[in-house]
Symmetry: C2
Subunit: 343 residues, 2 copies
């Protein structure tokens, strides 16, 4: 049909009005400025010509793109898809779209990607890549780009964030194990450079302390990464140093699965010999053997909140920095049980 997309002036010519009148009609907010009769004719003609506003032009004219840049460290990590879905839903409801970029931990690449996004005139940024001490976050704040971090918190508190209440999550995990009768509980922590690793570790220690157990009974090991392999290595080392351990709380589910591997290698059974509790409840954790007891964080809810927060931040540039923490819940499955008598 139409080889070139119809523009405002095409519709105007076809209707016999000025293009500014067409513009007013095409925007619901200003449609009231035009008489109903003229509006109707314009709308009919616009439909007939298949008119579709050119967003590049309106972005240029208004300095507002209605696009939010979302930067993720790794969309194949199952933590992120539901966060992204939540973000998209929250955004779409308000007429915004997300433009997503995946980027690893390399700081230069992150700057590059953020520059692309800013060049694209995004109205704001949602970063899931933030580290506790993150120069990229600081750069964005300096450039006064509306910003929120999701699932991660930048420690200087210069940017709003939406995270899971990791302290509470660890409290739930530890309480669960205490109630089962465990007294030798260890933690395999995630990277301390990320807020998740850091807060979960602190939450673990706080929960142990609150329980009245002597702190020495609670060992913390740091996995060298958030992978199955790192989890396996960490538990092997942990059990070498602390063979009396009857329960392990990990910083994330993948590490917990790695713990299964370590136990299998040692000929130990879960949960009979060692209970394992994960964190996140990513998909399929109910299908592994044994089904993993884990702390379920509100991935989708974090995304929705992050969308809400960024739009709010855009509305009111001087809005206060907010820390939103969503409460996780414990999902008790087969990987946790009372310690063996005598253990």
């Amino acid at each position: 049909m139409s080889n070139k997309a119809a523009t405002l002036s095409d519709v105007a010519r076809a209707t016999g009005v000025h293009l500014s009148t067409v513009s007013r009609v095409m925007n619901p907010e200003t449609r009231g400025m035009v008489s109903a009769e003229v509006a109707k004719r314009i709308l009919a003609e616009a439909r007939r010509l298949g008119y579709r506003a050119n967003r590049a032009a309106s972005t240029l004219a208004t300095r507002k793109s209605n696009i939010i840049g979302v930067v993720l460290p790794d969309i194949t990590n199952p933590v992120f898809p539901p966060i992204l879905t939540g973000i998209e839903e929250g955004l779409r409801k308000h007429g915004y779209q997300a433009i997503v970029a995946n980027v690893g931990a390399d700081e230069e690449e992150q700057r590059f990607v953020i520059n692309l996004l800013l060049g694209q005139q995004v109205d704001g940024l949602i970063l899931a890549t933030a580290r506790r001490d993150d120069p990229v976050v600081k750069m964005c704040v300096e450039q006064r780009v509306p910003l929120v971090t999701v699932n991660r918190r930048e420690e200087s508190g210069i940017a709003s964030c939406v995270i899971s209440d990791d302290g509470h999550g660890m409290h739930l995990a530890v309480r669960h194990l205490l109630e089962l009768g465990h007294r030798n509980i260890a933690h395999i922590a995630g990277l301390d450079s990320l807020s998740t690793g850091h807060f979960r570790r602190r939450g673990f220690l706080a929960a142990i302390e609150a329980s009245g157990l002597e702190a020495g009974a609670a060992r913390v090991f740091e996995a060298s990464g958030h992978t199955r392999e790192c989890g396996k290595a960490a538990l092997l080392e942990l059990l070498r140093q602390a063979p009396g351990t009857t329960a392990v709380v990990t910083g994330n589910d993948l590490v917990a699965i790695g713990c299964y591997d370590a136990l299998a290698q040692l000929g130990l059974r879960c949960p009979q010999d060692v209970s394992i509790v994960g964190h996140n409840d990513v998909p399929f954790m109910d299908m592994v053997r044994p089904p993993l007891t884990t702390v379920r964080i509100r991935h989708h809810g974090m995304g929705v909140e992050a969308a809400r927060l960024i739009l709010q931040t855009i509305e009111a540039r001087d809005a206060p920095v907010l820390d939103i923490r969503l409460k996780p819940e414990l999902v008790a499955r087969g990987s946790s049980a009372p310690p063996r008598a005598g253990a």
Copy 2:
């Protein structure tokens, strides 16, 4: 610092040249038109001012956004993240970005989302939502939008596609089971409205036929959806109607996991009583119990190819429609074994 972003004319004023000269220097392709000395001064000034091209303006001027719209049915389905990653990598290498939209099966919503994307002036579209008979694909082709479908094929062949060679995949699965000694093999098929479900079903039948087994020995059931629950229901029904079945090939991994549930409910063991083979090899299939034998499709490779193809299609609008099929491989794990003697 700079409250407003620097523009070409800011850099021009600071350097004492005309903004068109600055424009030429900022674009590597035209930089050669400007004397090295002037270029150097301009570049220095641009850096000092933090100049960043406004892509809305250049999109408007060139009618080229260097953005590709990617439409996914569900990013939380683990098939899609690696496809998306592949797309992004393939695109970024050529200076393009992806703008991703998640949208369910509803046709009106799909049209809405595609309209948003086209309004955004995307240069092309990659659709992972395509059905075998898909009016939305047809609409895009009519509007002459450069288009490729990924993981799915529209049957009228009007759009290029990048898919897994499903016929070959089923051949591998069936051959594996035949070699183990199975003679009563059934298929739980995916939706026939999707090319994956359709081609896998046909591939299964072709493989059985090629094997010389009488076709009656090969039953096909259609799961009512690609979920664990549907897989469970399908296998329960299948075993009721064909209790002699010793091996089942499913249309996807989630359905295979549902089969595990059905077997557990019936008190049957996998693989001792019934072997199960999945399709896709999504993450964690090596961690379920038993680890799932499955056909691994090249998710990431499909994404990379889709990116390459869409760019090629944009380059040469009259390029021929291509069908690219990537070869999958069989990953034999614990869910398949010889049938019991006498079975």
